[in-house]
Symmetry: C4
Subunit: 253 residues, 4 copies
């Protein structure tokens, strides 16, 4: 069986990157599906992302029970991750965050939509999960059991991002590098959009543009970002083979 | 009698953290009630929070007279702290700040209210102390004697935060870690709310949500933030025993 | 033939500066016209600007074919650079960026215009390239062949800056130092203008002011900025002879 | 005659602090009146403030002629400094800046007024110098001779701060520490005010409050800020004797 140490190392790096880029405060988290056991996922014990070490990573079943070593208390919101891996076989990595420019969209009627090409993969239809709809207005807003996790997974559906009212958002992707990339650029899109909305009517990416960009996004793009983000947090950059999207010259810039 | 050196060390760390997180400029301060003498509190001499050393910490009676060693001039606003410890036996720590996103709420009619789950403990009813009401419009806005301090304490009442018009805000908590946590997240809430207000009507946390979150907030949550904030300022992290709130899995994320 | 190593070194520095000053994210790029072969330009392989080394720099013909060593995949948008060097013999350096305060102007009807003297050289008439006009709304917004590059060059015309809708902007200049300077100050101008527009009607620089400043801008001004920006990224500052603009005392401050 | 080396050293520190605190970009400057020759002032050669060394400092007559050693080209706007020292015998130090939150007030009809106690010394009546009024709209906006400097000095009058349309602002004070303090807090006030204006009607400090604060501001306040700002730029903190304002306990916090 393949050694999963490089995968764990990449997960540590993802935590450090997302903290450094301002996507995760001390209370967000990122997980990956176990590379050998698709019914398991890997997620740190409950600790601030900028501090996570390889020893902090725990293994969970998809319904959120820890398996094997328990270096500490798990995140109470691990059910977000489990329910998404359960509902979406295509998902290989999940980020749950309190990304600061995104939250305002979750508490106002304004729709988050991509305005910049790098942000196209967030999609044109981003739902906002309102926990009150099913669980009333006496919750602490957290997703702390599988019933809640599955309700959130239904809200996300086949999409890449869903906001969570008064709380944050959750992003899914095929790989750690993709989900980190999307998480960073949704925060950037949100910041750009708040500024744009203050100035007048906004031209969003069209559905055709979003589709073209999403199809052509190459692994190479994720590598380019990943290398620089690793550098900023002093983590080694390990290159991955990258598949080229449709049309070699049509990757990001 | 217990050695209070660890307590003093924690107070130094709190000063460094709040400066680094942008809550305190060179002119805010944080105090703790004396762990052995409830009618005394501990507060640095008048110095910028990012520079405070253990030797700078002074002991005061609740009416603001210094006791024992005087390493330098005291803060002229120590009466805020004294009056709050006098009025509120439940309070173990006080932060007075000029937190930059909070001040705009003190000079406009806009009410500060929590919009994000992490910020719920600031409560739904945050008063704004108007010094002019009792002391006229020829003050320098500072709380420089016990009469002013007690007037402010009445305004705060049983709450966690009160704004001070054209000046800043003051936050109270049971412990240093709690008050640091609340101070950081009120600043975050204010920043999120300013952005949200620019985009339309805002959905605030409901009273039920605020109450549920406040009840379930566990010491564990404070530890998670504290560990990462210590790391950022190069201070050692000393873990504390933490009580678990109602419902183990219902802490912050 | 002159050694071009100092030129390559300056190009590396330009990349590092623009990344550090927040003008380039991991996906922008800066090029120079080859100092000895005006029908060639020099541009890094596709890599984040903050990481670029001298070994990453490639040579291209004006239609974007790489010549000589290929340390890696080229930027797919190298055609922006080629088409501009082709159309504008006066241009010695090109920056393509996703500068965060500039993008909002590309997706709203608000015109970018200079409001601060340092920003005058961006000019009073800044076009916004809409890729849909000629290439439809199913592109990925990128300039990935010469037809697109030439269309963009026509939009830019004789000007210094053109926005690109939902994408970023491109800046040209006679030298690397000039183009770096302009790129930094257009971002600053954009940030100032967004704030100003939120407060009411804005007094822009007049055409007379813009013209006077552009004529009097001395190489000395670029040196003053360049020296400090080098310092911030830990790159050596190599002074260049600077020509003085009209009126010695009329440089920037 | 007293050694002026400590004075020069303090001027270097002031440059470094104002660059680090975001008040000066690469193109602002700070001067002091010569401590022994009131008809002279000391100002660096034209160099970015974050790089200035003691060797860069030049001596000027009040009409802007350099005296003695010339380590390099002088700032073309040295006439701002000269004209203010000429017109205002009470002024011991001058900062000219492009402070980013202040500029928007210079290009819109919005008046800058203090909303926070720390910012009171900027005064309730802050003029905005419009260079077009006397010099037409074909200038480069810079103050490049004594006629312009004197016109600006008349606009400033007896006040502490004047804005300069499309350009920046200039701040005067009795000492370097005072002028640095005021420059930092006018930038803070501007940022707070822009946010506040986006939320509704604003309660400004009253004239009585401004007067009370300005009278009671003690040198001790400047020391508290100065010590922390020195620390941030790695410069030694040299304490100065500080006079106490009216009412010992009424300094800043």
């Amino acid at each position: 069986m393949e050694d999963i140490a490089p995968i764990l190392d990449e997960l540590v790096t993802a935590n450090r990157i997302l903290a450094n880029e301002g996507v995760l405060d001390s209370f967000g988290h990122v997980s990956i599906r176990h590379p050998q056991k698709p019914d398991r996922f890997l997620l740190s014990r409950a600790r601030a992302p900028e501090l996570i070490q390889i020893e902090d990573i725990m293994e969970f079943t998809l319904d959120g029970r820890s398996v094997g070593q328990e270096p500490g208390k798990p995140y109470s919101e691990r059910f977000i991750h489990g329910a998404l891996y359960e509902a979406r076989p295509d998902v290989g990595s999940v980020v749950h965050n309190h990304s600061p420019s995104v939250i305002p969209f979750s508490v106002t009627g304004r729709k988050m939509r991509p305005i910049m090409h790098m942000c196209a993969p967030i999609g044109s239809d981003i739902p906002n999960w309102e926990i009150r709809n099913k669980f009333g207005d006496k919750t602490n807003l957290l997703v702390t059991d599988m019933e809640m996790g599955r309700d959130f997974a239904r809200c996300l559906g086949h999409r890449t991002v869903a906001l969570m009212r008064g709380h944050g958002s959750t992003v899914v992707g095929r790989s750690v590098r993709e989900v980190v990339f999307t998480s960073i650029y949704i925060e950037i899109n949100a910041g750009l959009l708040i500024k744009s909305l203050s100035m007048g009517d906004v031209v969003y990416l069209s559905d055709g543009e979003i589709e073209t960009i999403a199809k052509a996004r190459a692994g190479f793009t994720f590598e380019r970002g990943w290398e620089s983000w690793c550098h900023r947090v002093g983590r080694p950059y390990v290159s991955r083979e990258w598949s080229v999207g449709e049309g070699y010259s049509r990757s990001d810039g």
